[in-house]
Symmetry: C3
Subunit: 314 residues, 3 copies
């Protein structure tokens, strides 16, 4: 492109853009310690998925004789790399809070070791989740099929890991992890959500599970289900009070069908069923089924017409 | 990190994790033949998309003089690589079923050749699908725009390929293919679904099409539509009977608007229209339109108020 | 695989597939000038995101002393590479329209320079969008968290860039950009949509915003919201008239909850609220709230039963 002219135009543009950085509004990170790097976090997550389902990627042959070496190598790698990312997150927060003296490195190693120590327990939870998927979906041919091709498996694995870091107040990284999973599966589970055993989400695109949700055992959700919040408390200065319980509690054995929206700090009782496409803002008693009114009353008759004449939308 | 201490901690952890592998619950693949590799399958799919829409990636210049060489090279590559993956899938199943004597290699080559032989027919089907997209969407400027930027195109291409493998009882791979497409587009079509000519899904995020769906010609779906199952037969031991028809049949010229949920083995008659956000569990006669009741009856009047005072959710 | 036999089979297959290219139906690009390349466009978008949120990827340390050099380098790169892609798009259109004499190179450089010149303004808009996200979501801990983990941020950044190119009649690329964002976030905003200041979409999976939407200030959408079209004008030859306004107008301070579907060229008045899961085809007056009828009337009582006996779907 035109050299001289182009160059001076770029220089002017650089000045104008730098001006927009001046107010330091928290959306530029100039002179900031480096932030955690999404790609590195995804790398560690991929390794942890291999720990949970050894051999599932088909890339490594895992045998009884090499399994301890494979695992040891993966865990050493995750320990080094994930603790680095966690340190970046802690350092960023310290800087923002003007707290120069805390030992971010030590905290990061402690948290990472605690996460690793929880892996055997998480693995047991994940076994239950996959069992729930198999029991709940007639299209499932085998456990292997579920591990290899159900988006839920990756998402719940990432959630159970991210939740451990959330419980230990790691900044930024739990949400970066949940977003990495959301981007792949369309399932958006906030790392704060407490999720019981034998959980299953089928298909999953569009599911949202909010930060303060509490979900019991044997709960099943379908695609497009929202467990969201609705109107919440503000302090005397009109600012949202953070940390309040504002999302639903689902007791054991609840099933929620596709596209239902459940909002607020309400309880859906044990064994209740919520039909597809309804909007629920009030508590639901145990064992009750909620459904949209009979659709037969909604029919309007037309005589059939050819496709080309039909209404179309985009 | 701390060497000695860290190492012994990792060793202990490895033991604990290996213990969780012992029950061989079907979610670890130790000592198993290697499984099909997702990345390899995606590579083959990308090559097959190039065959269907030569030149569409802009990476290769395809001309009348080189087209046969380009095609020949791609097809040889797919033949070798996809048949390898299919062999891994067959071998994994044989191992599970204790069937050591069948000729997985030969079966894989046969199935791969049959898939390749079907490509000219699939290409004709895809032409029709893209025509349906152009006819059905006023925002579509050209066929090129559709091929380059409609998520539906990739998804239906993958579906028509995966369906051929599903019909030939290839384990694991058809679902891995459909999930690869689902992850990109948010459209989740089970490879078992039978889909007629001139099919179109606009936008598509959140669409679910179940395994035993049968879809006629000129059918159009919008984002968030579910064609799912509802309550199905179990055998005398309480296990789901696999393979039963449990999803909807859509006759020719049916249109289903955004977020509608259609459940069960019901028939939506020729030319019927299902409005947005409804939940349908009963058959719909030809030519009928179903819609949510008039929303005007749902109004609750408030006086306008400023944004900052409004309810907010997350 | 079997050499001789396989080779002749591939040769025959090549012939059959080439036959399907003959009708030049606009879905093959043989002898066409190369098309814009998706990966190159995504590369340029990633660089522009770095300009908008310097340091956000954590990959480059941006400091007060190096910021001008980093920016200058990025902008030169985008200027060269994006203008190449834009040129490919213009050339493809010229070829189709038999317009061999226009200066595609010059047009591409002009458009690229105009896009770059708009970046300071777009940056101000994006600041407002991130403020809106922070104000609107109680789960948001910091602006940094929003930039690093809200899918909305990437999507609105891409939209505001793609919209500039749409306004300048660049073929293909604006839609390729919006689809690149859609594929990551599940949010599908047509580059034609006019979107005011302080916009926010929470979670976002399944959102569709149509080409001729006009959106005011301080508008908030939740996951699964559709702003679509419904029945539109055709010319005397029965072809859709392109470019007509066919999507909703949302005035300032409108909020639309999860999964609501708003269709047609209707106005949703200032400060109105649309509840979740409703289907709206008529204008809504300012300040009004629309919601689904009371769900308590929809209850059907069952006695609680154990999970294993419940209906299941897939």
């Amino acid at each position: 492109m035109d050299g001289q002219n182009g160059n001076s135009r770029i220089k002017r543009l650089v000045d104008e853009i730098v001006d927009t950085y001046e107010d330091n509004s928290g959306i530029n990170f100039i002179d900031a310690a480096n932030l955690p790097v999404r790609e590195k976090i995804i790398e560690s997550l991929d390794l942890l998925v291999e720990v949970m389902f050894p051999g599932c990627t088909g890339k490594r042959t895992v045998t009884r004789s090499n399994v301890r070496f494979v695992l040891g190598e993966i865990l050493c790698k995750v320990r080094a790399e994930l603790s680095d990312q966690i340190e970046l997150a802690f350092r960023h927060k310290c800087r923002r809070d003007n707290c120069p003296n805390c030992d971010c490195r030590k905290k990061s190693e402690k948290v990472t070791d605690e996460l690793l120590a929880s892996l055997p327990r998480l693995r047991e939870l994940l076994k239950g989740d996959i069992e729930a998927a198999y029991d709940g979906d007639p299209a499932a041919e085998s456990f292997e099929e579920i591990v290899l091709s159900y988006p839920f498996v990756h998402t719940i694995t990432v959630h159970r890991i991210a939740h451990e870091l959330y419980l230990r107040d790691v900044p930024l990284i739990p949400r970066m992890m949940s977003e990495a999973a959301h981007s792949k599966s369309g399932i958006d589970i906030h790392p704060g959500a407490k999720i019981g055993e034998h959980f299953f989400i089928d298909h999953g695109t569009g599911v949202v599970v909010g930060e303060t949700c509490v979900i019991g055992e044997n709960v099943k959700l379908y695609q497009g289900v929202t467990l969201g919040a609705m109107s919440f408390a503000k302090d005397e200065r009109g600012r949202i009070i953070k940390g309040e319980k504002r999302h639903p509690t689902l007791e054991d054995n609840v099933t929620i069908y596709a596209e239902a929206t459940i909002l607020g700090d309400i309880t859906i009782g044990k064994g209740a069923t919520i039909g597809g496409n309804v909007w629920v803002k009030q508590p639901v008693e145990p064992g009750v089924t909620i459904a949209m009114t009979n659709t037969s009353s909604l029919y309007r008759h037309h005589k059939p017409r050819a496709r080309r004449e039909k209404e179309t939308t985009d």
